[in-house]
């Protein structure tokens, strides 16, 4: 027979160890385990010690609930290991067909994102526990999530384990790059982006970070669970607030017929104006958004009032011309 590859030999050893620990009713001492798992028996003392410690960690990482218990109440210095069947097993979940349909949909939401593997594995476990897949859709609605931000995995791990984080952050506006040290609270997808809400340790204040502005490597602290997330932390409210609210203004804008559809949609009134243009009335519009929208329409739009916004649009257009001045070197 062909000798198995080192990776295959390791899987075999881990599987035998798992079965052995599930099989025993009494906690098994390390020396006893060594006699029961074939690969351990063949190893030197030192190699066995190293292997066993690593194997325990890996089983725990996989989610195997490995217990450490005192073997004998009279000699409480010797510990043993076992896995309780009831803790190990996925409890029987009796999903009805409509419940299973939404679970299937939920697992597919991640099909193109970083949790694609775990989502598929979760569904397989449910199937292995006896659930049959139901492909029926849920009235044609499909949620899809993407996690293109390189920092996603590390930040997710930090949030779930409540581990302090350090990273380089490129701020909005002028794009200033700063070093941040934070206590992560929550990870939220909002309007197409992932946001981290956290306590900024250096600024001693809550802050919102966009994951796509986290640059380079993210460093997790060694110790986790060293802080608590404020009770009732509302990540979404915090993100919404951080987007800022701006004072609104009532404005009249002249639009060339057939143009400015975005503004027309928000208008409370559209009336014919001079030269065949239309005049739209906007009751509540943010100043900066209106200036950007009207400037973006170029010769097809003009702010009639307030006059200061008419001037703001003209300033911007002059800035466009200045930036494209023929004299300027390319």
């Amino acid at each position: 027979m062909v000798r198995p590859s080192p990776a295959a030999a390791k899987t075999e050893r881990l599987l035998n160890l798992t079965i052995c620990l599930l099989y025993t009713r009494q906690p098994l001492s390390k020396s006893r385990i060594r006699t029961l798992v074939p690969h351990y028996a063949d190893s030197s003392d030192e190699a066995f010690d190293r292997m066993f410690e690593r194997d325990k960690d890996e089983l725990r990482e996989l989610g195997v609930p490995l217990r450490t218990e005192v073997i004998d109440a009279f000699f409480d210095d010797e510990v043993g290991y076992r896995v309780d069947q009831r803790e190990y097993r996925l409890p029987e979940i009796d999903f009805t067909p409509d419940e299973l349909a939404v679970v299937g949909l939920a697992s597919r939401a991640w099909s193109q994102a970083s949790l694609a593997g775990p989502a598929a594995q979760a569904l397989r476990k449910l199937q292995a526990a006896g659930l049959e897949r139901d492909e029926a859709g849920v009235s044609g609605i499909e949620p899809l999530l993407h996690t293109t931000e390189p920092a996603f995995e590390q930040v997710r791990r930090a949030v779930l384990t409540r581990t302090p984080l350090r990273f380089t952050y490129r701020g909005g506006g002028a794009g200033v790059v700063t070093q941040r040290h934070v206590h992560p609270w929550a990870l939220t997808s909002w309007h197409g982006r992932w946001y981290l809400t956290a306590h900024d340790v250096d600024r001693d204040a809550p802050r919102v970070f966009r994951l796509d502005r986290v640059e380079g490597t993210v460093t997790l602290a060694r110790a986790s669970g060293t802080y608590t997330v404020p009770a009732g932390h509302d990540a979404r409210a915090m993100i919404t607030t951080s987007q800022g609210t701006e004072e609104t203004v009532r404005a009249r804008v002249a639009l060339r017929p057939g143009s400015g559809h975005t503004l027309r949609r928000r208008a409370s009134e559209v009336t014919p104006g001079e030269d065949g243009w239309d005049v739209v009335l906007l009751d509540e519009v943010s100043r900066s958004a209106l200036v950007a929208d009207v400037t973006g329409l170029g010769p097809a739009a003009r702010v009639l009032e307030p006059a200061e916004l008419t001037a703001a649009v003209r300033d911007r257009l002059r800035a466009v011309l200045a930036a494209h001045d023929e004299q300027e070197a390319p």
Binding site: L62, W110, L145
Partner: protein, 321 residues
């Protein structure tokens, strides 16, 4: 599947595969492989590994039985691992986060099923599900989007054609069209309708916040045979390789341009400004973007576009062109 699988990942797969195979005795090798996202040779490798494992003693009676005669798989004597391992943290997270997002879909009729499924999953996953509260997806729709969503879903449910008045923002154009709805997607929090468009005679993705009006028509709305849901990547709208490449010099304040649109390349300059290459099928969209940025972006090339930007800005200012 050719991705690297660590020894531990493989163990995770085996601990799920064994109970599944035990419930599906005599299943085709091919179907087992498809269910677990591996090829048939891998399943055979797995079975070969299984039958040298077993309970302590490792005498023939202790070992797992595994066979795959005539392509039919049988697994036995594996009572200790006959149940799948409970859901891990990431597994519970993936399902719980997506289900909660689904539950937040305005007007969704399956609320009841979602709530029940969530409650069952949460109780089965325990701590793993509680941790999931730290990760969430905010799915919301404003009043207008909700109305559109309700009508669109009514069309989907009854297989009827829809009439849309749709704003093509990049062309600043309001369009009328009849479409056969295929599905509604929420991609990273934004709503889209994928439908067969009778005006374009092709399938199209419509952003629900740009649907100005929608009504359900009497005609049958079954999409033609060739309409197939397309894989949707981040950003949804992808440039085509035939599109014209435009180079912009963007000031740091307008760096969001490089984040908002699919770009081919970004070169950061020592002063923090960016040289951005992007492709567009519609130069007028790009000209409007540059006006909108009010001097924070300059078209470097092509020269024709520079001329369009200048000309329009002069006319807007009432200067002689």
């Amino acid at each position: 599947m050719t991705t690297y699988e660590s020894a531990t990942d493989r163990l995770g797969r085996l601990l799920t595969m064994v109970p599944w195979l035990m419930r599906h005795q005599g299943i085709d090798l091919a179907e087992a492989a498809a269910t677990f996202g591996v090829d048939e040779a891998q399943v055979v490798d797995d079975l070969q590994l299984l039958f040298v494992c077993g309970t302590p003693g490792h005498m023939p009676d202790d070992l797992i039985e595994a066979s795959w005669e005539d392509g039919k798989v049988y697994v036995g004597n594996a009572d200790t691992i006959a149940h799948p391992l409970r859901l891990g943290r990431d597994e519970a997270l993936a399902l719980v986060v997506a289900l909660r997002a689904l539950a937040a879909v305005p007007g969704i009729e399956e609320h009841d099923a979602i709530d029940r499924a969530l409650a069952k999953l949460e109780s089965a996953a325990g701590d793993a599900a509680r941790d999931a509260a730290a990760v969430s997806v905010a799915v919301d729709a404003d009043g207008h989007e909700q109305e559109v969503l309700t009508t669109v879903r009514a069309g989907l449910r009854t297989h009827r054609r829809l009439h849309l008045r749709y704003l093509v923002a990049s062309r600043d154009e309001s369009t009328e069209r009849d479409v056969d709805p295929m599905r509604v997607l929420n991609v990273d929090g934004r709503w889209y309708l994928e439908a067969w468009c009778h005006r374009a005679e092709d399938q199209r993705m419509f952003r629900l916040d740009r649907v100005e009006e929608v009504s359900v028509l009497d005609e049958d709305g079954t999409p033609p045979q060739q309409a197939r849901p397309r894989a949707v990547g981040p950003g949804v709208f992808r440039p085509s390789p035939d599109d014209e490449t435009v180079r912009l010099h963007v000031q740091p304040q307008a760096a969001w341009v490089a984040e908002q649109f699919p770009v081919d390349g970004v070169e950061r300059q020592p002063d923090g400004s960016l040289l951005v290459d992007l492709r567009t099928a519609d130069p007028s969209w790009l000209v409007r973007l540059v006006w909108r940025l009010g001097g924070q972006a300059r078209v470097v090339s092509p020269p024709r576009l520079v001329e369009l930007v200048r000309d329009g800005a002069r006319r807007a200012l009432g200067d002689p062109a």
